[in-house]
């Protein structure tokens, strides 16, 4: 399905294919294709559904530990059944639809949001042979699906016929659209240098190792590192995660665009948020962290999908860690960060990537100069723009409080 077919495949690597062929092997040609697609859909549903469930548990456990408490530990063994208890609770709650709400839109908004987040999961290559949908323009498709979730957010704010929902949806929309720009600009260098919009092609462009243990991942280049950092910050905002979770700032607002939602519809919004988080992490892994490639040639005996899972879990835990650490931004700070900081840096990063591409032919003696220049291209704008933006803002002095 993807490049890298020259390398030997262990039976472990082919295990998902073998399992699939066991089920679909006896079907005639066209039916087989349909069955394989349905199985892929079912597997994505099941894997990410369970990942969502246990991610909520992991989040609560990790947040608890960071706050020096044990986290949920009542349902099941040490709390392992907590997600299912939550699900049952959500299902049995009353589903309230305001009398003045538009019932169709009110119902459609959470469904559409979950659909759009699931759509974006389709094009990520999860392993050497595991890309549910190998589109030539998969990256474009991914971000188109992600961007349409903004429509669903606004639908949710509009349908409830509640002024608070509507205002919050406007703010959410402003945030999501603002962060689309740095998100997309940060991955333009990847597409430019890999020369393809296909996620599998981008993963293939990151294959191979120098000296057997230095992978050719994009994050290990100056532009790739900067791009990854910008991508992750923008992904935090796109996924409504803390510190950019002010569309639904549960401790300040009523619930933002979720004000008029209850019961399982409310849970669907959360599901969509976690799916979006997983999808963006998966895309970050694909674009910058070498996709399903092992970090060293000697570690290839571990199947590719396991490497992908490890990388995505690390990123998701990073999301949780950041949530536990950073306080929420104000809406003006949020906009400032997107338009005055991330956007210029992402644009400059295009130049860095261009330099890196043009200097690819430099000899071994010029490599330190190449790296030095590349890092300078990243670091100097960061310092200058950061200094200009934060001048006069801090550190805050407390004149009346005791130190």
């Amino acid at each position: 399905m993807t490049a890298g077919a020259t390398e030997p495949d262990s039976w472990l690597e082919r295990l998902p294919l073998i399992a699939r062929d066991l089920v679909t092997g006896r079907l005639p040609g066209p039916w087989r294709w349909i069955a394989e697609s349905l199985i892929a859909i079912a597997v994505v549903f099941a894997v990410f559904g369970l990942l969502f469930a246990f991610l909520t548990l992991a989040e609560r456990k990790v947040l608890g530990r960071i706050q020096n408490r044990p986290g949920p530990n009542r349902a099941g063994w040490g709390g392992i059944l907590q997600p299912f208890a939550d699900g049952i609770k959500m299902l049995t709650k009353e589903d309230i639809v305001p009398r003045t709400a538009d019932p169709v839109l009110h119902f459609l908004a959470p469904v559409a949001l979950v659909c759009f987040s699931l759509l974006s999961l389709a094009v990520i290559p999860y392993g050497r042979h595991l890309a549910p949908l190998d589109l030539d323009s998969g990256v474009l498709y991914f971000f188109a699906a992600g961007a349409s979730s903004e429509l669903a957010v606004f639908m949710a704010g509009w349908a409830g016929r509640n002024k608070y929902s509507l205002l919050a949806a406007m703010r959410a929309l402003a945030q999501l659209i603002s962060y689309e720009l740095p998100l997309l600009l940060s991955l333009v260098p990847v597409v430019m240098l890999a020369g393809t919009l296909s996620p599998s092609g981008i993963v293939a462009a990151q294959s191979g190792w120098s000296a057997g243990f230095i992978p050719h991942w994009h994050i290990l280049t100056p532009w790739g590192f900067a791009g990854f950092a910008i991508f992750m910050v923008a992904a935090l905002a796109e996924a409504n995660r803390s510190p950019f979770d002010l569309p639904e700032a549960e401790s300040e607002l009523i619930a933002g665009h979720l004000t008029e939602y209850s019961g399982f519809k409310y849970a669907l919004f959360f599901m969509a948020e976690y799916f979006a988080m997983c999808a963006l992490s998966g895309m970050a892994v694909t674009l910058f962290l070498g996709g399903w490639h092992a970090p060293a040639a000697a570690l290839q005996f571990i199947p590719s999908y396991a490497w992908f899972a490890i990388k995505i879990l690390v990123l998701l835990l990073g999301f949780i860690w950041i949530r536990a650490t950073l306080p929420r931004l104000r809406i003006d700070q949020l906009m400032r960060l997107a338009w005055k900081f991330l956007l210029p840096l992402a644009l400059i990063n295009l130049l860095t990537a261009a330099f890196w591409h043009l200097s690819a032919g430099w000899g071994a003696g010029a490599q330190p100069l190449r790296w030095g220049l590349g890092l300078a291209f990243v670091a100097i704008p960061f310092f200058i723009i950061g200094r200009r933006l934060s001048s006069g803002l801090g550190p805050r002095t407390y004149r009346y409080a005791a130190p």
Binding site: V62, R65, I66, Q67, N68, R69, P70, N73, W321, I322, A324, T325, L326, F382, F383, G386, R387, L389, S390
Partner: protein
């Protein structure tokens, strides 16, 4: 430099995360139904009526149905009906007693004003907090039988205050006995009459009538 604060913060949270696994002393929570914290002595909620004798709680209520607490109670959750007859109280003096003493704990706000106005140390604050019921009307209206708890229990939950109250009451009783003994000496013949009189000399309420505990 821009961004260093974020990494400092991440280091702090990571330290707490790792610390919570190897250092149980960091934990700020108690696993409630299995583990219980010791309540501080001055913890208080809903009032109870003090009885002298555990065996006969209704007979030895310190309360004399003076109804001060009923009048002072801000949310008016106390309801008292005086008895028609009199019974000897703990010190032997004939006193009224509460035929009905109800507290509606769904109204009570645990302000302790009833305790502070009581001249007889008859009502005190409790340590009980597991008072969930399946019905919000009848089980939350506590009658005098449910409210009565012994002085021994009071000593257990508020040892400092109980010792002070006991010492004050004992001093009062002793003073009354001495007074009675002094009064009893001159006329030796009227023995039977004297016997009852000194005992009824219940100690006066402390000056001011209001006990204020620190």
């Amino acid at each position: 430099m821009l961004g260093t604060g974020i990494f400092k913060g991440l280091a702090v949270t990571a330290k707490n995360f790792a610390g919570s696994f190897h250092d149980p002393a960091r934990f700020v929570t108690t696993q409630y139904p299995e583990e219980r914290t010791v309540l501080p002595e001055n913890y208080r909620n809903f009032p109870f009526l003090v009885t002298e004798d555990d065996k006969d709680p209704m007979g030895t209520l310190r309360c004399v149905a003076c109804q001060i607490c009923e009048k002072e109670c801000p949310p008016q959750c106390i309801y008292i009906e005086k008895s028609r007859d009199k019974k000897p109280d703990a010190a032997g003096k004939m006193q009224l007693y509460p035929a009905v003493f109800d507290i509606d704990v769904s109204v009570c706000m645990s302000c302790q004003i009833c305790v502070e106005v009581c001249p007889f140390d008859a009502i005190k604050m409790d340590h009980e907090f597991e008072i969930a019921t399946s019905n919000r009307f009848q089980p939350l209206l506590l009658d005098r039988g449910q409210l009565a708890k012994s002085n021994g229990y009071f000593r257990q939950i508020h040892p400092t205050e109980a010792a002070e109250v006991d010492a004050r009451l004992a001093a009062g009783r002793k003073a009354a006995e001495e007074k009675a003994a002094a009064a009893a000496k001159p006329p030796p013949p009227a023995r039977q009459e004297v016997q009852t009189k000194p005992a009824t000399e219940r100690p006066d309420p402390p000056a001011g009538g209001i006990t204020t505990e620190a």
